[in-house]
Symmetry: C2
Subunit: 487 residues, 2 copies
Amino acid sequence: MAIIKKQRIEKLKNKASEMLSRSIDQHINLAVTGLSRSGKTAFITSLVNQLINEGNKSKLSFFDPVHQGNFIAAKRVPQKNYQVARFDYEGGITALTAKQPHWPEPTHGISELRLAIRYQPKSSLLRYATDMATLTVDITDYPGEWLLDLPMLKQTFEQWSDVTLALLKQAPRNSYAQEFLNKIADIDPFAPANEEQIAQLSAEYTQLLHQFRHELGLSVIQPGRFILPGELAGAPILEFFPYAGFDDIDLNRYQNADDTSFIGMLRARFIEYKESVVRKFYQKHFSRFDRQIVLADCLNPLNKGEESFADLELAISMILESYRYGQSGIFSRVFSPRIDKLLFAATKADHVTPEQHAPLVSLLNQLIHQSKHHISFEAIEIKTLAIASVKATSSGFIQHQGKKVPVIQGVTQQKFEQNDDAESSTNKQITLFPGAVPEKLPTQSYWQAQAFNFINFAPTQGLSKHECLPHVRMDQVLQFLLADKMI
Amino acid sequence: MAIIKKQRIEKLKNKASEMLSRSIDQHINLAVTGLSRSGKTAFITSLVNQLINEGNKSKLSFFDPVHQGNFIAAKRVPQKNYQVARFDYEGGITALTAKQPHWPEPTHGISELRLAIRYQPKSSLLRYATDMATLTVDITDYPGEWLLDLPMLKQTFEQWSDVTLALLKQAPRNSYAQEFLNKIADIDPFAPANEEQIAQLSAEYTQLLHQFRHELGLSVIQPGRFILPGELAGAPILEFFPYAGFDDIDLNRYQNADDTSFIGMLRARFIEYKESVVRKFYQKHFSRFDRQIVLADCLNPLNKGEESFADLELAISMILESYRYGQSGIFSRVFSPRIDKLLFAATKADHVTPEQHAPLVSLLNQLIHQSKHHISFEAIEIKTLAIASVKATSSGFIQHQGKKVPVIQGVTQQKFEQNDDAESSTNKQITLFPGAVPEKLPTQSYWQAQAFNFINFAPTQGLSKHECLPHVRMDQVLQFLLADKMI
């Protein structure tokens, strides 16, 4: 009898504690995206790795919950959204810790991963309520192109055509786009639409977008779904392109042109794309994010030259557009996303010598703050960091002509060989000073001097799945994105 | 002044005629699907080809609008649904009319094509109202597996597991499935779910479905989206499988198991699949279809043997299930699809000698009417036909041991060679009597005799894009599906 009573009381106590615990549990929807092949998959893999292996060779001294001993443990738990691919952590960590380590395969489209982080509340009322609390983090990985599509929501087809054509006519895009521009200049806008011709020209436009991305290393690829079509492959919604002759046509006639005319069909599909692709992404995903990290590879554009760098600038200003609320922004305050923290991280910081990290951050800051939008961000905290998700080099000094010169050392990245001779492939260790990162937006003289040579390194050998990966400032990333929810 | 007035009257007259014409225009949503690699793509390509080239070597004498001279012309027009892939007619007709003709590549997922058919109304009031009317036909091509998923809507996870496991334990599936069945027998249903293990077992189950489809030539592949995942690739919604131990567990405990338990997670994903994949297909597409044609290759299952044929039987009875309304059907009459005509076509009729067409249709009829469902179809007209979308053989007679024996002649199908020597590949013409088609469901003695040898033929050479393709009974297909809307 006494035992039963005791059990019952115990049960009630547990229940009360559970209810209390539930009410203090926290939740964050963390969105991760990237520009210019910035290493999104390596980043998420490292972030998860740092948290689930915490305590095993971890170096997270700038992440307060770890530094102050509140962090208990983290684990992956099943995601709640069954219709979005699971982020392939297993594949990522296996690539990085393989005998012949290589960077993980890039992800296509959207994927998710849920982490549960147990911690001991130290401050506020919580410490008296319970011994443990859980922070649930839903990480969503999505292509940077989808973020760059959002500004389309406030554009008409005319405006979008103007902006897109201006880009196509400038260097470096114009060297690829001339033939396409000639073809679309010949279109009779009010003639009956020829679906096959539109399909053909759209395929050429899509081909250009692939070239801009992969050959020129550009960031502004619009419409983003064209290069990652998924289930929409072959659907008319992905078959349109800018119209070139708005200066010469009767705009009244344009307004009245129906969907069976050439221009009417292009416009109808543009509108459908905005509503069914861009707005749907906004409603289903973007509007639910609490925090966003945008990864940007600034080194590759510096390598590629002025035009590639200018494109990164444009991409960042387009992204900031989506976080600007009010009359002139895309979203009204009522329908605004609820993001309260936005982190821009310059990745691959380990690819330059440590004293270059400060100029790298300074450069990224300039990219962000030269934009005139910063006045409207009162509701969002913005931060910039230079990071390496998985550190691939070591740094030191050499003596050169009597001077101490900073250098990094790493294994140059070769294409990962598929055959059995993989281990004997020609990866070699090199030591170098890759060059100085300009701390302000580069001037003409910087571009003319071409005094930089950033090289891609492979991940270091001998990493273990069950230990924390070496990194640069991942703890500061965690501190900014998660720490305030773990007090 | 007089001219302006005349123009105005003309305009009003046109407008009145247009309004009248619009009101008599007809529209059909025609759905095409298939079982056992039945040649859906060739069928749709031929159907479109017959209509748009009508008059140029066409043989559509059983299609009344052509026979009676009401048919004016047909053309492809842009589809209205921008988010569904366009059916690749150009690719299909190019493959069939190539120098080295080959069957078109099978389609994946759903695609659409819209035809506008101009005709002269002959009867009813219409002939007095206008000279021309238009029948708009929206053709939707979708995988047979999606149709076979519909019965899942009325199953619980327990019921679905029972039915699916019964199939897996029978020949011919059991020869492949034993290892998988052993693995799932070991699952502890109430243990915490291990997502990686569920992902791994789901991958094995999906692999089995591929083998059933491609190695065993089976028709019942469920859940259908597992083998054509599209954008859901890697998503938890495609990661579940039947549970094997329902006889041994406490069903009360099962009902209360939450989503974090092994069985709870399987059940949750099964339910999500039903709601978000199956019901969504039903609502977005299936419920809008007016007419359905189900293509079935009966010859290949006859070749493969008793078990493959039994699977075709099962598939047909599952399909009929979706057209059975009322209490015991899947859909109530209120939410029923609006299909009024359902055509089952046995394809590849040109692969047997002409006197075998009657037994072929008779066999198909038996497959349909042995099912006990036919009593409930009062609202739907069902027809069966033996057809060849694109006729690949010619038929004749040879003298054999003093008797006249019917034969067909065609080019045996070789893998289409990609290299430049394609034309010198080893396709050869053969003449044969492929065997007798049983006109009733085959008996044991039929299977034991194995007196049949159906061979796949390549399309004949020398076909032209701008002429009607040779066919068997495509005119009767058109008569059944379209003619009553062109009166």
